[in-house]
């Protein structure tokens, strides 16, 4: 019998990047890379566990933009083209490395993995990876949850409750469309919680969310069990606090596993390393070199000197690291049980894309971890938040503190010199959206369509990815242009609606570009949507 629980939570999210207007948009490859290197390998791990009859419980958050992209026919088509191209390159690599045994094994492995990815994507799951997640949920191994509609940093929209409500409701509705049920939990984008926003989760029947450790630790009444048991907010939604120790072991650049010298070096890619003429067909059409995903070196050390990757060494390390992670959780839980009158839960959330894409061996590590937990020990068991709440129905009631999992723990990553300029425009658009939704209670025809598109432009502009990118300093131009483009489209549409002079061609064009939430009804932004109790608070 286990003494305590480990709740692994993977948050899968990418911003909505879909550009029908042009082929070979490099930002779309975020999706393709993540499919090949993270989502499909994860699916393969889960399928392997199912085949071997290994019991496991995992939570996976799939953000609405990602859900929309994974189910989009255009992007599915483009992914196939992408993976075919990659397979062609990998086959060439097998040929090229024939006389270089130190690379040949990896070249063969890539060729195999890419072909497997194509099979899993095209044939096994019919181009729609959501089918796989649905299957694992149905089988009872995976709890799929959602995130807010376009991954907005919700505390910064707190002054517009209609907008926060819309972010939650649209996510819930989209989830229902694909999974046929309400999402049990929600990954609040960036783990960002603002006291009071639990009312929107409660309203949409969402049972739990996550905060960073200090979100729970700094709750208005001290949490008796720290982050090792959930708390209920006053509206009865459970909050699980992130455990910093288990996070650090995986995330930290200093102490984390992914930096091990035997692991694959992310930055040495043949897209940059090989002769230009050779890789030219596989890099960006404009001739800019890029990551192909074929990488032959291990981290080796701190200098630029890199040795060839040895898959056996790396696998061995992934096993050791899984053992280490388990042994630390065992120590942690054994300690905690002495101080708690219930089984503790250690909540360990990670970005899904960390595994496979960034930390190449992370997928193997996860596979080892799940199997070792199932067979090699009995101190800890895996659990989902729903299962824990089912076992412990009585929890402390207190209000978590405003917090996020970003650097320094609050809003600074998304609100600083590089990105603060966006909020004036975002707030303006949000305010206008609520106003216009209130002004037009029952628009029809073209106006209805235009109002719906207006809501889509607002939502796409609100994504936390744009300020994040502006802050990190790479691809800034793209993020800036995305915000400006959506706000400008919003302004132009807004004016057309107000003037009753809708440019049909333009509307059709924007509809085809920004097609997220096809079933949206702009009236979701009306103030009478938030309950009369909420309204009383506002009036």
């Amino acid at each position: 019998m286990e003494k305590g629980y480990l709740s692994l939570v993977l948050h899968a999210h990418l911003p909505y990047v879909r550009h029908p207007e042009k082929e070979d948009i490099m930002e779309e490859e975020w999706l393709y890379e993540a499919i090949t290197e993270t989502y499909i390998p994860l699916i393969n791990v889960f399928d392997g566990l199912l085949e071997d009859g290994v019991d496991f419980n995992l939570t996976l958050s799939v953000s609405p933009p990602l859900l929309s992209m994974l189910t989009d026919p255009l992007l599915q088509e483009r992914y196939l083209r992408h993976i075919n191209n990659l397979i062609e390159l990998a086959d060439k690599e097998v040929e090229r490395t024939k006389t270089q045994p130190e690379y040949h094994q990896m070249a063969q492995q890539y060729a195999y993995l890419f072909k497997e990815a194509r099979y899993v994507f095209e044939e096994k799951y019919d181009r729609n990876l959501v089918n796989a997640f649905k299957k694992f949920q149905y089988e009872g191994y995976l709890e799929v949850i959602t995130s807010s509609a376009t991954h907005a940093f919700l505390p910064f929209f707190d002054i517009y409750p209609e907008a926060v409500n819309a972010q939650v409701e649209l996510a819930s509705t989209l989830y229902k469309k694909y999974f046929g049920t309400n999402p049990a939990g929600m990954w609040l984008p960036e783990c960002a919680y603002q006291p009071g926003q639990d009312r929107f989760l409660a309203k949409h029947d969402i049972k739990y969310f996550f905060t960073d450790a200090h979100g729970v630790l700094h709750a208005d009444t001290r949490p008796k069990y720290g982050v090792f048991a959930p708390i209920y907010t006053p509206n009865g939604v459970a909050a699980f606090g992130r455990d910093l120790e288990s996070s650090k072991q995986v995330w930290s650049a200093k102490e984390g596993y992914p930096g091990d010298y035997d692991y694959r070096e992310f930055y040495r890619d043949i897209g940059y390393d090989l002769d230009y003429d050779y890789v030219e067909p596989y890099i960006h059409q404009s001739g800019i070199r890029k990551h192909t995903g074929i990488k032959y070196y291990r981290i080796t050390g701190e200098t630029d000197y890199k040795e060839p990757y040895n898959p056996d060494w790396a696998t061995h390390k992934a096993g050791l690291h899984a053992d280490d992670f388990i042994s630390n959780r065992q120590k942690q839980i054994s300690y905690l049980t002495k101080h708690m009158d219930r089984k503790p839960i250690v909540t360990a959330p990670y970005d899904a894309e960390l595994f496979g894409h960034w930390w190449y061996e992370g997928i193997q590590w996860l596979d080892f971890l799940i199997r070792k937990i199932a067979y090699d020990q009995d101190t800890i068991s895996l659990i989902t938040p729903s299962q824990y709440l089912n076992e412990y129905k009585t929890n402390q009631v207190t209000t978590p503190s405003y917090s996020s999992w970003g650097h320094k723990g609050y809003g600074e990553v998304w609100l600083e010199g590089s990105n603060d300029w966006t909020y004036r425009h975002l707030h303006w658009a949000t305010e206008k959206m609520v106003e216009i939704a209130n002004d037009y209670p029952d628009a029809t025809g073209l106006k209805y369509e235009a109002l719906n598109q207006l809501a889509r432009e607002l939502l796409l502009a609100q994504s936390s990815d744009w300020p994040f990118i502006m802050k990190t300093g790479t691809m800034v131009e793209y993020a800036v242009k995305r915000v400006k483009t959506h706000i400008t489209r919003f302004k132009s549409l807004y004016q057309e609606i107000k003037d009753d002079n809708i440019n049909l061609n333009m509307l059709r064009k924007i509809q085809s570009y920004d097609n997220i939430f096809p079933d949206i009804d702009y009236r979701i932004y009306r103030s009478d949507n938030i309950s009369s109790k909420l309204q009383r608070e506002l009036i």
Binding site: K248, T394, V397, T399, Y410, G411, H427, T474
Partner: protein, 303 residues
């Protein structure tokens, strides 16, 4: 050669986009132009922009709403703000910084989306506050109408914790001299876990304060654990009956949440554990676990 063709295409696309996006906005271009004007011009422009009475009316409405909104939030947060001083100057657990996933993806500049200058105006006197962390707040403002320019523009930062401001006086306030034209400001506030509002106005030489706009009410987050220990408990039963059933399927919609039975808010039960008295941890403690170092650390200590 390829580059030339691309440049040409981009130029054409640019013209098309310009045509589509810019032209319809021509009507509001007079409004938008003003934000790019320099300081003196802004003041000259102001009277024109607020000619319409409806605008003024709207402003007043909005302000009332904000006041009341604030009041209500105050009521909600009433109990939270006890004994601030004792919360300060303690060591908090280090908040680990994490690096979300975006930067792991390859990058490229993007020629297709046009880079417009956004000129956005609410056409109101207003100031908005966003809480960055326990001690820093970001403010942005817009001024369309100025009754009085003779004096020093200031931000009046009021601590309204537990106060029904503006019906009661604030606990305290301080002022910061500003440049109105800055239009945004990072403001340091003295305390975590306090409720504030910021008033933007003109301090006249006589000492009189002319209010131009008041911000939303906001609360800085705690930077320390709370000093309130007595836990309240809530039991939510049946919510997860719908969870995984024997066959592993979800039984959607059977949740009582939002249904007839209600959620059970108010179903607070007093602690079966007798509150903190019987807590094995003793007063003032919550569960934490010792830092367990990874055996892998030693080798890689030098990264």
């Amino acid at each position: 050669m390829t580059f030339l063709i691309y440049s040409f295409l981009v130029a054409i696309l640019g013209i098309i986009l310009y045509h589509f996006f810019w032209e319809p906005e021509g009507k509001s271009s007079t409004q938008e132009a003003k934000e790019t004007l320099n300081e003196e011009e802004i003041f000259q422009e102001m009277p024109q922009q607020t000619k319409t009475k409806s605008n003024l009316k709207f402003n007043t409405k909005r302000k009332n709403k904000e006041f009341k909104e604030g009041n209500n939030k105050l009521a909600v947060d009433w109990e939270v703000a006890e004994d601030l001083s004792t919360n300060l100057n303690r060591n908090t657990p280090a908040i680990e910084s994490i690096t979300p996933n975006m930067e792991f993806f390859s990058t490229h500049d993007y020629p297709e989306l046009a880079d417009y200058d956004l000129n956005t105006n609410f056409n109101q006197n207003r100031v908005t506050a966003l809480v960055r962390d326990s001690y820093w707040v970001y403010l942005y403002w817009e001024i369309n109408q100025l009754f009085e320019v003779d004096g020093q523009p200031i931000l009046k930062v009021l601590d309204i914790t537990n106060k029904n401001y503006p019906h009661c006086d604030a606990n305290s306030f301080f002022t910061v001299d500003i440049n109105l034209e800055a239009t945004n400001w990072y403001l340091k506030v003295p305390s975590a876990n306090c409720q504030y509002t910021v008033e933007l106005g003109i301090q006249k030489p006589s000492g009189e304060f002319n209010l131009i706009a008041r911000s939303n009410y906001f609360r800085t987050p705690r930077d320390q654990p709370s000093d309130k220990y007595d836990p309240e408990w809530m039991t939510i039963d049946g919510i997860f009956q719908r969870s995984y059933q024997a066959d592993g399927t979800f039984n959607a919609g059977s949740s009582p949440l939002g249904g007839e039975q209600g959620l059970g808010v108010g179903e607070y039960i007093s602690s079966p554990l007798g509150g903190y008295v019987s807590s094995p941890l003793g007063v003032g403690e919550y569960v934490s676990s010792p830092y367990i170092s990874s055996p892998m650390n030693d080798k890689n200590e030098d990264w």
